[in-house]
Structures are given as structure tokens and as C-alpha cells.
């Protein structure tokens, strides 16, 4: 008996740090009877942990005429419950040495707390409490509207870049919910009432719509047990999320030319929506590789050409959004160098893409871009909250955990032809917006 236990312990210690294949975060997962999914990523670099609770409801789920509601509810979640009055939530976490905040995206809402791992249990209690017992005091609701209107001013109304970004979004997405600003339109925010917020809260905040992710110096079994203890009893009615509407925008490239005399440096942005690209597919991932190939680090092909060789741009960047509930999208932007015209630069960049598509891509540049991307997965483990953020966002977008764990392999399967096809797709894509932000009245 003794000997067998000993052998067993040795076997365990051999197995633990030695995974069979190279994945990314090595998460462990469990789903409670009430459908709350729990994900744990162990990271013992420091004695800290990040606790994140994702609700699968974001700005894309805001009802018509109530843009900004998901974000507004996120604010109200800090305004107290029966047992934890206003301000007590933050005070308790501060007393534990923790740091808490939240954010709302188009697809989901996330609440996060980082703190010493040994003090994690209190957060379970606090988060479970506000999942079902939110007060939504009328006075507080009115006051928070002012806070959010001030936030909107800071992010958007007072910033030429913010206003421009809103216009671009509208032009790109048309009637699709992704067109609306996450923070909401001013007139919508002004009309929020406690009842509107309560209806939204009761409809969307339930264990079956939530994902709990803990990353840090923790043991998965302990986290599963704590989740059962604090969240296991919650059985609020759950509604399935309404699917996002089908894509209906008219074909074409819509131009947004925004002038603001507060702007001293012009730049251009080109954005694409690709509703025909299947999400989670190899052809979708090809757009991630394309972005890296064009503008990754200081070695991307387009960056090299315009910033180093032509000296006509001082910066150039590109990225794809493939981890999304809605359609895949792509964005490219560049800032002209002194004495260069922003429209000339835009024309040259588009021409460069066309020539690149005609010339074709070399296998070497694709392999190098993929290698950089795979290496970045190792660096992502060297962060406390990033693994929780990435995995939570993945599940909230409706993907499987394996999408991230097998990501390096998926990236490997993307071929030169796939990336070339992605570039061709962009050049002929029917849904685009092109924008220029510049000075002058």
C-alpha cells in the first residue's frame, strides 16, 4: 500500500509539468449543473490570481434605441446589492489588496479582479451575490447616467479620433448591431431608467450565460469546489442569446472624410467586413497571418515598403478580428510622413496590395510570420490576467477552448495559398469603409 502510494505520487509529479503536446495555456474546465462554465489556468510565477467573470452579453445585444445598455449595466454592477451596499464591493476588494474593474465589448461583458491567490474566496462570494441580488437603486441609476455621459465625452465627444471611429463603424456595419457605439449614443444613455436596466439584467445575467475563468497560483479542484459552493445554488431563469441578425448591408465602399481643426496629423483607415468567411476556419485564420505578414513588428512587408523604403509613412498597422460572434473583419491604417499627402499614401498602399496579390507571396515570408505568431503564444503565458482574458473571450464568442489550445497547430495549417487568397478576398471584398481624419474646418 505504502509503496503503491509512493509510486503514484511520483507518477503524478512526473506527469504534471510534462504535457503531452505543446498547447497554449493548459486549462482545466468544468460545468456546474446550472450550466456555469468554469475554466482554470495554473500559473505559479507569483502568488497571485486573476478572477474573471464573463457574461455572454455585449453591446451587440443592446435593444433597438437603447444603445449602451450592456455597458451601462456594467457600471451599475458596482452600485450595490442588499448585503453589499454601494461602495462596499470596491472597499472589500481594496482591503484584500485586490484591483477590480470591468469592461464591455461588442460580444460580452467581463468583470475582473486580481489579488493574492490566498484571498480568492471572498471574490467568489461577491461575484455570486451580484449575479442575482443587484439593487439598481433609482437615484443611483440617474447619477450613473451622468458618469457615463462624462465617460462618453472623454472617450468620444471630446476626441476627434473617437468621433471618427464612430462614423467609420456606422459606415462599415450599416444596420448590423456592431455599427452602434459600445458606450451608447448620448440620447439613449439619457433615457435609461431603473426598469430598463433591471429587465436587461434579469434577462441576461444568469449562470447559464456566464463563464468563470481563474488564472494564477491556484489548484483547479479548489476553484471548482469554490464555484460549486458560491454559484451552485443560483438558478435564475436563463434566456438564450438572440442570434445576431443576418448581414443585410448594401454592397459598396463607403467613404468617411472627417475634418476637425483640432487634428494636427492626418491618417487613413481602411476597414473590411467579411461575412462570407466562415469563423473558426482556416480561411479566417489566414487573415490573422496576413495582418502579421503585412505589418508585424518592423518586418512586415507593407511596413517595410512604406516606412523604411519609400519613407512616405511614419507608421502602418494591420489587424484581423477573427475571434468574434459576428462577421470576421480586417483593418489597415497608416500615417503619412511629413510632406506626404494622406490621400497619396492611401492610393499607394492599396496599389501595393494589388501588386502583391499579382506577384504572389513567398512561402518564406508566410512561414516567418507564422513562427512569430506561434512564439507569441508562449509569451502570452507570462501574464497574470491575459490567459483568463483570452480564454474567456474565446468561450464568450461561442468558440471551444480547443480553438486557443490548438491555435499554434491551426496557424501551422494555414498555407501560402490561403494567405494569398485572403489578400485577394480583401481586394474584391464588397463591404468596405475607407476613412480619412485630417485637420481643417
Amino acid at each position: 500500500m505504502k509503496r503503491r502510494l509512493l509510486a503514484f505520487i511520483f507518477l503524478l509529479t512526473l506527469l504534471l509539468p510534462c504535457p503531452l503536446k505543446a498547447a497554449v495555456f493548459y486549462p482545466q474546465t468544468k460545468t456546474l449543473d446550472n450550466e456555469l462554465q468554469i475554466v482554470v489556468v495554473e500559473n505559479h510565477l507569483s502568488p497571485a490570481a486573476a478572477f474573471m467573470l464573463f457574461y455572454k452579453v455585449g453591446a451587440a445585444d443592446d435593444p433597438k434605441g437603447q444603445t449602451g445598455l450592456a455597458h451601462f449595466l456594467e457600471h451599475m454592477m458596482f452600485k450595490g446589492t442588499r448585503d453589499v451596499p454601494k461602495g462596499a464591493f470596491s472597499a472589500k476588494i481594496a482591503a484584500l489588496g485586490g484591483q477590480e474593474n470591468a469592461y464591455t465589448t461588442k460580444d460580452y461583458t467581463a468583470y475582473h479582479t486580481s489579488l493574492a491567490a490566498e484571498r480568492l474566496e471572498d471574490i467568489f462570494a461577491l461575484e455570486a451575490d451580484r449575479m442575482k441580488n443587484l439593487l439598481l437603486d433609482p437615484q443611483e441609476t440617474l447619477r450613473e447616467r451622468d458618469v457615463v455621459l462624462n465617460e462618453r465625452k472623454e472617450r468620444t465627444d471630446n476626441s476627434p479620433q473617437g468621433i471618427f471611429a464612430e462614423k467609420m463603424n456606422e459606415a462599415l456595419y450599416g444596420a448590423h448591431p456592431y455599427a452602434a457605439p459600445i458606450i451608447g449614443k448620448k440620447q439613449d444613455i439619457q433615457n435609461f431608467t431603473p426598469q430598463i436596466v433591471r429587465d436587461f439584467y434579469e434577462r441576461h445575467y444568469a449562470p447559464s450565460r456566464a463563464i468563470l475563468v481563474v488564472s494564477g497560483a491556484v489548484q483547479p479542484q479548489e476553484i471548482f469546489a469554490l464555484a460549486q459552493k458560491y454559484f451552485g445554488e443560483i438558478s435564475a431563469p436563463s434566456f438564450a442569446a438572440a442570434p445576431l441578425p443576418v448581414w443585410t448591408r448594401e454592397k459598396g465602399t463607403i467613404a468617411v472624410e472627417h475634418k476637425d481643426e483640432r487634428v494636427k496629423q492626418a491618417f487613413f483607415v481602411r476597414r473590411w467586413v467579411l461575412p462570407e468567411i466562415k469563423v473558426q476556419s482556416r480561411e479566417a485564420l489566414a487573415f490573422d497571418v496576413l495582418a502579421e505578414l503585412l505589418a508585424g513588428g518592423e518586418v512586415g512587408l507593407a511596413f517595410r515598403h512604406f516606412v523604411l523604403d519609400q519613407n512616405s509613412a511614419t507608421s502602418l498597422s494591420a489587424s484581423a478580428d477573427t475571434l468574434t460572434r459576428g462577421p470576421v473583419s480586417f483593418v489597415l491604417s497608416a500615417t503619412p510622413a511629413p510632406d506626404h499627402d494622406v490621400r497619396d499614401l492611401e492610393r499607394d498602399v492599396m496599389r501595393f496590395l494589388q501588386e502583391l496579390a499579382q506577384k504572389g507571396l513567398t512561402a518564406r515570408t508566410v512561414v516567418e510570420a507564422k513562427q512569430r505568431m506561434k512564439d507569441s503564444a508562449i509569451f502570452a503565458r507570462d501574464r497574470l490576467m491575459a490567459p483568463a482574458q483570452i480564454l474567456g473571450a474565446t468561450l464568450a464568442a461561442g468558440y471551444d477552448l480547443s480553438f486557443i489550445e490548438d491555435w499554434p497547430e491551426h496557424i501551422d495549417t494555414v498555407t501560402t495559398k490561403d494567405v494569398h487568397q485572403a489578400l485577394q478576398t480583401l481586394l474584391h471584398a464588397p463591404y468596405q469603409a475607407r476613412g480619412i481624419l485630417e485637420g481643417g474646418a
Partner: protein
């Protein structure tokens, strides 16, 4: 329970608990040539974070050569040894080596992050960048132009406008008032000779600190230090920068900017980092404005009145000056009520001091959150580097909690009395506020 089983269970549990109780072990490494580095060896991830600092940064730029330190630092990674700028960047990218060198106010700092499997290459390229940068004409011209563009983008932002005018008032003729990215004229006038001279003056062995965290041993690191830094001159040549003398009267400045909102920055003198009352000042700042949603200012202006999305204060310790600095943004018509409330809350804090439970809560946070400043190899390396450049001592992390706990209520009150007088606050705004008077109004700021 069977003793042997107990023993093994303990063995399994032990490392976790020991880790939770203690701070990481810091080793002091000496190279054969006498160069020093602080190391936290950790093999949990196959990575190495390597950071270094050379004392003397933007403050060493003479007024007609503003922008020199930033340009010199940026050029270090644009080609070195036999590698031109493209070959150099290609080689770094191929091995996923991230290497950045930046010029801060007081020092040039560098960060390198590499996969352990590529460390030989990483250290080779780091050595080349520091000891034989090419400073090619093409890179020199290109980065200068990039800085001109950055200056334009930066100078259109209200947060930058208020900071620039605040520093201009506080620091006056002191080098701290200078623009890190230079002026249009000073940038234009810089030559490659300037860059080379500045490099030779600033990068040396006597003003160097090194911090390393990750999958590397002390035996590996010691000889590497000589390979990387050994070829640098023994001594740096830097101007002697005097301490900041604060202006006698606080000021209220405005940069006119159209829009719905005004950006407000405010600051007062603060005690220096090495003052024994530093932790008491940290506690006082936490209670008044540093403590996020629990701070008095945030509670009053945001939670009770909805006047702003956020207000916060912070302590900034530079080599030649320390600041208590804060910021808030609010609608133009709300600036007056926001300033009045800020004044009321601040005056009450100054007059009546902090309550015992507030001090305890601040101590709870400051001690409890220590693990959060050490959650990645980069964060740990940055901490090790700061401990050296700010001369906090090797036992800083180990003794941090007891030192913060040892602060008494009397000490906090004394610091508040001396350093938290609302009459000392200077304000710098950018926007179009209603009903506020100013000593200085700028119609615009040069690009």
C-alpha cells in the same frame, strides 16, 4: 496518519505555501570585470526578461538639442555591427526577440524579452546594439521625421497640453521642463555627430543597472554581463543636473481648446523618495485620491455627484523633484463645481487628517497588493531595476510589508500637514471651462 504519507503530502504542499509567504529570492551577480546584475532565477516559463538602465536621460539634452536622448535611444535598435537596419530587425524578428531602448526623464532604459532557446542570439544582438550601433544616415533621417510626426499627434491631445504647461510652470528653466521629442527646430538641427557623442557620453559602466528574471542561472549570467556591456567606456560624462526649485506661487493655466470637456491636471511638491516618511505619504495619497473607487475624491466627485468618469492622484518621484499629481476631466460647465468640490474635500483632508480605519484600509491595500506588482517576468525585472535605480535596497520587497505596517497615524498626519496643503496646488487645464479664472492663458501650443 502514516508518517511517510504525511511527509510526502507535506513535500507536495510545501513549495506552494512557502511561495505564498515569501518574496522571490534575489541574487546579486558580479561579472569577472566587476559588472553587477540582480537576478531572480525562475524556470517555470522558457523565457528571459532582461532590463537595464543608464543614469542620465532626457534631462541631459541641452535646450538647443532637445530630442537628442530619445533619438539616440531609438537608433540603437536600427542596425549595429555588420547588420544594417533591415538585417538587424530581420534577425530579431526571426528569433522572436523583443528589444526596446527608450529615453526617460532621468535615465535610458532598455527591455529585452527572449525565449530561452534563443538567448545566445538575443544577448549577441543586445551587445551589438549597445556597443556598436551604426547610426546610419537613412535611419537617422527616418526616425527624426517619425519624431516630428509623433510631436504633432502628441501636441493635439488635451492630456498632453495640460501636462506640458503644468511642467513648464513648475520646472521653468530646469531641464525637466523640456520636450522629450524635441521642438521642430531642435530636432531639425540635430546631427549624427551629436548622436554619436551622446552615445559615447551616456552609455558607460559606471551608471549602469541590470535586472534579469527568468530561465537563466547565475553562472550563465555573470560572463554574459561582460560580453554585453564590457566594451562600454568605464565612465559616463553627464552634466550635473540641479534639484528643482519650485516656484513661490502656484499657478492656474489654460490652453484653449474647443470641445465639450476640459482636461484638468493639478500638482503640488512632494517629499523625496528616500524620505523616511515616504510610506506615510503613500498612505495619505491612497486615502485622498490614489485608492481607486474607495478614495475620497473619487467617492465625492464621481460616486456622489456624477461630475466625472474619474479622478485620481499619484506620487511621482523623479531624481530632482517629487510631485503629488492628479487629473480629472469634466464637461465645461461642470469645471467650476468640480473644482469647488475638489477644494472642499482636499481642505477637509488637510485640516482634519485621515481617520484610523482609513489608514488601516490603505495599509491593507498597499501590503496586500504587493504580489500584483510581480505577476510576470517583465514586471519582476522592472521592480528589480527600480530597486536599484531608486536605491531602495535588496531587502526592499522582503521588508516592504513591515515598513508600511509600521507607519503610525501621527506620521500620516504630519505628512498631510506638510505636503497636502490645497493652497500649494497648481492647476493646468486644456479646454473651454466656464467661470474659471487663470494667470496664464495660451491660445495654442506650438506643435
Amino acid at each position: 496518519m502514516n508518517r511517510l504519507i504525511l511527509f510526502f503530502l507535506l513535500l507536495l504542499l510545501w513549495p506552494v505555501h512557502a511561495h505564498a509567504e515569501s518574496t522571490p529570492v534575489i541574487q546579486r551577480i558580479k561579472s569577472p570585470k566587476g559588472l553587477e546584475a540582480w537576478l531572480i532565477e525562475d524556470h517555470k516559463l522558457p523565457l528571459i526578461a532582461f532590463q537595464f538602465a543608464f543614469e542620465g536621460g532626457v534631462e541631459t539634452d541641452s535646450p538647443d538639442k532637445q530630442g537628442l536622448s530619445v533619438l539616440m535611444a531609438s537608433l540603437l535598435t536600427q542596425g549595429a555591427g555588420s547588420y544594417d537596419e533591415k538585417a538587424f530587425q530581420d534577425a530579431l524578428a526571426a528569433a522572436s526577440i523583443a528589444l526596446d531602448v527608450e529615453a526617460g526623464r532621468d535615465r535610458i532604459t532598455g527591455t529585452m524579452k527572449t525565449l530561452a532557446r534563443n538567448k545566445d542570439e538575443a544577448f549577441k544582438f543586445l551587445a551589438l546594439a549597445l556597443t556598436s550601433p551604426r547610426f546610419e544616415q537613412s535611419s537617422f533621417v527616418r526616425l527624426k521625421r517619425q519624431m516630428q510626426t509623433l510631436r504633432k499627434i502628441q501636441s493635439a491631445k488635451p492630456a498632453w497640453m495640460s501636462r506640458y504647461t503644468l511642467y513648464r510652470h513648475i520646472f521653468q528653466a530646469h531641464p525637466y521642463s523640456q520636450r522629450a521629442l524635441g521642438t521642430a527646430q531642435s530636432l531639425e538641427a540635430l546631427t549624427r555627430e551629436d548622436i554619436k557623442t551622446h552615445h559615447a557620453n551616456l552609455l558607460a559602466r559606471d551608471n549602469l543597472s541590470v535586472a534579469v528574471v527568468g530561465a537563466i542561472t547565475a553562472q550563465e549570467l555573470a560572463p554574459l554581463l561582460d560580453q554585453i556591456f564590457g566594451a562600454l567606456p568605464e565612465k559616463s560624462t553627464r552634466p550635473n543636473i540641479p534639484p528643482v526649485v519650485w516656484p513661490k506661487a502656484p499657478a492656474r493655466t489654460l490652453v484653449k481648446r474647443q470641445g465639450e470637456q476640459t482636461e484638468i491636471l493639478f500638482a503640488a511638491p512632494m517629499l523625496p523618495r528616500h524620505d523616511p516618511d515616504w510610506h506615510a505619504a503613500q498612505i495619505a495619497n491612497y486615502i485622498l485620491g490614489g485608492g481607486g473607487f474607495t478614495a475620497r475624491l473619487m467617492t465625492a466627485l464621481r460616486a456622489h455627484q456624477g461630475l466625472t468618469y474619474g479622478i485620481s492622484t499619484d506620487l511621482i518621484a523623479m531624481e530632482k523633484a517629487s510631485l503629488l499629481i492628479g487629473s480629472v476631466a469634466t464637461g465645461n460647465t461642470q469645471v467650476r463645481p468640480a473644482l469647488d468640490l475638489l477644494q472642499t474635500v482636499w481642505q477637509d483632508f488637510y485640516k482634519n487628517g485621515a481617520a484610523e480605519p482609513e489608514i488601516t484600509a490603505a495599509q491593507d491595500f498597499l501590503t496586500g497588493s504587493l504580489p500584483l506588482s510581480l505577476t510576470s517576468t517583465d514586471a519582476m525585472a522592472a521592480m528589480l531595476l527600480a530597486m536599484q535605480t531608486q536605491k531602495l535596497g535588496m531587502d526592499y520587497l522582503a521588508r516592504y510589508k513591515e515598513r508600511v505596517r509600521a507607519v503610525t497615524k501621527d506620521q500620516v498626519q504630519r505628512v498631510i500637514q506638510k505636503w497636502f496643503d490645497p493652497q500649494q496646488l497648481s492647476f493646468a487645464m486644456a479646454g473651454a471651462p466656464d467661470n474659471v479664472t487663470f494667470n496664464v492663458v495660451y491660445d495654442k501650443i506650438d506643435d
